[in-house]
C-alpha cells in the first residue's frame, strides 16, 4: 500500500489503541453528543461513484487535542447488494478504519468514536478526504459486489444532530427486525461453555429465540464472539434437523448436549420445562418453576429476596435447579427469554404463568397479554399455594379454566 496513501494500511493495525496523549483529534466518543455512522443501499443512479463530501470543518480547521461531532454516511449500490447487508457493511467501518495506521475506531451507530494520532496526521493523513479515499479503496477491494460507493463526512454539529434522529429510526427498525429473527431462519446456533467451571455438564444452547441463561449472550453476541475467538468458550453449532419444532428439539442441539455433558444428557428440549428441559448452570437470571397444585408455573428472579408462593426463596430453589442438570419442572433462564415468541411454547408459554414477583410483571408488561396481566398473582396478592388456588379461581386465570390450547 506504500506510496498510494500517506499512511500504511493493513490488519496489523487492528487493536492499536490511540491514547489521548498521542491523539491529534477525535470524532464522536463520550465528549461529543452528536455522532453516528450509517451505510445505506441506494440505486445506482443515486450514487455518484467515489464522491467524497465534507460538510463542516475539516481536520486542518480543527484544534489539536479536541473532540468534534461526526456523521459518516456511506452510500453503496450494486446489483448483488441487499438491504439486509446494510448493518454488515456498516460494521466494516470499524474494521477498515482500524486497518489504517494511526486511526482508532470504537463502537458503532450513534456511539461511534474515531481517533487520529499525531504521527499519521504529520505523515499526511490530514483531511477527511484522505481517510475517505482509503476507506473506499478497502470497501471496493474487499467487497466486489459494491459497484458504486460515495461518502459524506459531516462535522457540523447542527447538521449531525438533525440527521441523527433519522438514523436512530433506522437503527430501531433494524433492531426490531433482529428481534424477529427465528430459529427457522438460521442454520447455526451457538453454544457457550463459560459456566462449565461451575457446572461441568452444562452447556448453553443459544438460538435467535433462546438467549443464554445468564441473559448476557444472545445469538448475535454468539456470532460476534465466535468470529472474534473461534477457539473460545463460545462455539458455533450446526442446528441440524428439527426433530420436534414445538418443543425445540434439534439434532444439532442434542449432539451438543451429549458431547458437552460427557454423555449425561443426549436430548434437550429448548422450549419446554418437561421431560428433557435445558440444563441450568448457576448463572441464570430467573427460575421458572412448576406448581403441581395448579399444574402451572411461577417465576422468580435473583433480585427477589422474599419467599416465593411455594414457600422457598430464590437461593434455595437455585441450589436445586443449578449444577448443570436437567431438572424437570425447574428451569434456570434469562428474563429476556420471556420476549421470545417460542418462550416455552410447548408448555403454554407465558399463558401458563400464575405467579411472579411484581417487579418482573412490571418489567415485562409488554409481553404479557393484556387480559392475562391482572390474573397473574404477585407477592402482594397471595402468600401461599392455598391462597394462589383461591386467587386463580376468583380471577378466572385462562390456564386454570382450561382455555389455553397447547400447540400441536
Amino acid at each position: 500500500m506504500a506510496g498510494i496513501f500517506p499512511v500504511d494500511v493493513g490488519p496489523q493495525y487492528e487493536g492499536e489503541v490511540i491514547r489521548k496523549g498521542d491523539m491529534y483529534v477525535e470524532f464522536g466518543g463520550p465528549e461529543v453528543k452528536s455522532k453516528f455512522e450509517l451505510v445505506t443501499l441506494k440505486s445506482p443512479d443515486e450514487v455518484e461513484n467515489e464522491k467524497i463530501e465534507v460538510v463542516g470543518p475539516n481536520i486542518a480547521d480543527m484544534k489539536e487535542g479536541a473532540s468534534y461531532p461526526m456523521a459518516l454516511m456511506i452510500d453503496v449500490a450494486g446489483a448483488g447488494l441487499e438491504k439486509d447487508m446494510e448493518p454488515v457493511l456498516e460494521r466494516r467501518i470499524h474494521l477498515y478504519t482500524n486497518y489504517i495506521e494511526g486511526l482508532y475506531h470504537m463502537n458503532q451507530r450513534q456511539d461511534m468514536w474515531l481517533r487520529l494520532n499525531k504521527d499519521s496526521f504529520a505523515k499526511g493523513l490530514n483531511s477527511l478526504e484522505e481517510i475517505g479515499k482509503i476507506l473506499m479503496f478497502l470497501y471496493t477491494s474487499e467487497i466486489d459486489i459494491i459497484e458504486k460507493i460515495s461518502m459524506t463526512f459531516i462535522t457540523d454539529e447542527k447538521k449531525v444532530e438533525e440527521l441523527l434522529t433519522e438514523a436512530m429510526k433506522i437503527y430501531n427498525e433494524r433492531d426490531e427486525k433482529a428481534r424477529g429473527l427465528k430459529e427457522e431462519d438460521v442454520e447455526e446456533f451457538y453454544s457457550c461453555a463459560l459456566c462449565q467451571s461451575f457446572a461441568p455438564t452444562h452447556i448453553c444452547a443459544i438460538t435467535p429465540e433462546r438467549i443464554a441463561n445468564c441473559g448476557a449472550i444472545n445469538w448475535f453476541d454468539g456470532k460476534a464472539a465466535y468470529k472474534l475467538d473461534p477457539e473460545g468458550p463460545i462455539q458455533e453449532v450446526k442446528k441440524g434437523e428439527p426433530i420436534d419444532p414445538i418443543r425445540g428439539e434439534y439434532t444439532g442441539a442434542n449432539q451438543l448436549a451429549a458431547e458437552k455433558s460427557m454423555g449425561a444428557y443426549t436430548r434437550v428440549y429448548l422450549h419446554s420445562a418437561f421431560e428433557y428441559p435445558h440444563t441450568s448452570c448457576g448463572c441464570f437470571q430467573a427460575i421458572w418453576f412448576y406448581i403441581p397444585e395448579v399444574d402451572a408455573f411461577g417465576i422468580v428472579h435473583r433480585d427477589f429476596a422474599g419467599e416465593t408462593v411455594v414457600g422457598t426463596r430464590f437461593s434455595t430453589m437455585a441450589a436445586d435447579t443449578s449444577g448443570g442438570r436437567q431438572v424437570e419442572g425447574f428451569l434456570g433462564l434469562a428474563l429476556e427469554y420471556l420476549r421470545s415468541p417460542k418462550f416455552l411454547q410447548a408448555d403454554g408459554g407465558i399463558k401458563r404463568l400464575v405467579w411472579a414477583p411484581k417487579e418482573i410483571k412490571e418489567m415485562y408488561k409488554d409481553v404479557i397479554p393484556e387480559d392475562l396481566y391482572d390474573k397473574i398473582a404477585t407477592e402482594e396478592d397471595v402468600k401461599n399455594v392455598d391462597e394462589l388456588v383461591e386467587f386463580l379461581d376468583r380471577v378466572g386465570h385462562p390456564w386454570v379454566k382450561g382455555e389455553v390450547e397447547l400447540p400441536v
Binding site: E16, R19, G21, M106, W113, A178, L194, F284, M363
Partner: protein, 251 residues
C-alpha cells in the same frame, strides 16, 4: 510487550504510595497503564489524577442493562463493554488509569467477567508497563485479568502480621490463573534496621527482600497538604528506594 507489575500488601503499609512512585518512574521510560485494584485506597490521588467511573460500575451497568433489556440485540455486549472501559479510562500524557472499583456483589458474573478479561487484555497490550495496586486478596487479579505478572512486589511493615500477609500473597498467587515471574518483598517504615525476628521470618518464608525503606520524613507534610505522593522530593527515602526497585527489576 507489556511488562506487568503487581504491588500488593495488607492495608496501611504504604503500598499505594510505592505503586504510585513506581508508576511515575516508569512513565519516564514509556507509557503506563495504572490499575487501581484496591477499592479501599485511591491510587488516582497518589498520582494526582482525577477519577472517572470504575470498571466495576461499568460491569454492573452492563448487567443491569442486560436485565432490563435496554441494549440493542445486534450490538455485541463485548463491544459495549469495550466502550465503557475506554470511557472509564483516565487519560494523562504518559499514564492512563483504570479504577476497578468494588468486587462484584451477589449474582452471576461469569459472562461479564469473561468479557472484562478480554477488554482488559486488549487494552493492556498498548502499554509498555502495567502496574496494579492490589488489595491483599488480589481478587481483581484473579478474576479480571489473564495477564501474566512479571513482578509481584509485596509490601509489608516491620511487623510479623505484615510479613505473614506478604507470604500468604506469594502462596495465593500460585493458585491463580496468572503466571508470575519474580516475587519480591519490600519492607516499609523500617527504623534502624530490621528487627531480628522479622529478618528470620523473611528467611523462613523464603521471601526475597528487595528493599527496606525508612520512615519518610516528607510524607506527613504532603499528606497534610493533600498533595499527590509523586511530588515527594528526589531525596526522599521512598523516592530513592522506588528507583532502586525499578533498577533491580532491570527495567
Amino acid at each position: 510487550m507489556t511488562t506487568t507489575i503487581a504491588v500488593a500488601g495488607k492495608g496501611g503499609v504504604g503500598k499505594t504510595a510505592i505503586a504510585a512512585l513506581l508508576i511515575d518512574l516508569l512513565s519516564k521510560k514509556g507509557v503506563v497503564l495504572a490499575i487501581d485494584a484496591d477499592p479501599s485506597t485511591n491510587l488516582n490521588d497518589a498520582l494526582g489524577l482525577s477519577l472517572r467511573e470504575t470498571v466495576g460500575r461499568a460491569r454492573e451497568e452492563l448487567t443491569e442493562d442486560i436485565k432490563k433489556g435496554r441494549l440493542s440485540p445486534t450490538i455485541s455486549k463485548q463491544d459495549v463493554l469495550d466502550m465503557r472501559i475506554m470511557e472509564a479510562l483516565v487519560e494523562s500524557p504518559k499514564i492512563d488509569l483504570l479504577a476497578m472499583g468494588r468486587p462484584e456483589g451477589p449474582g452471576c458474573y461469569c459472562a461479564a467477567n469473561h468479557m472484562l478479561r478480554l477488554s482488559m487484555e486488549r487494552l493492556a497490550k498498548n502499554y509498555d508497563y502495567m502496574v496494579m495496586d492490589c488489595e491483599a486478596g488480589m481478587e481483581h487479579v484473579s478474576r479480571q485479568t489473564t495477564q501474566d505478572i512479571d513482578f509481584l512486589l509485596t509490601i509489608s511493615d516491620p511487623t510479623m502480621r505484615g510479613i505473614t500477609a506478604a507470604a500468604r500473597m506469594k502462596e495465593l498467587i500460585k493458585e491463580m490463573r496468572t503466571k508470575v515471574g519474580k516475587v519480591y518483598l519490600a519492607v516499609n517504615r523500617v527504623k534502624d534496621g530490621l528487627p531480628q525476628e522479622i529478618e528470620k521470618a523473611i528467611g523462613d518464608f523464603g521471601l526475597d527482600l528487595i528493599a527496606t525503606i525508612p520512615e519518610d520524613p516528607y510524607l506527613a507534610e504532603l499528606e497534610i497538604k493533600g498533595k499527590p505522593i509523586i511530588e515527594l522530593p528526589e531525596d526522599s527515602p521512598l523516592q530513592l528506594r522506588a528507583k532502586e526497585i525499578v533498577a533491580k527489576f532491570g527495567l
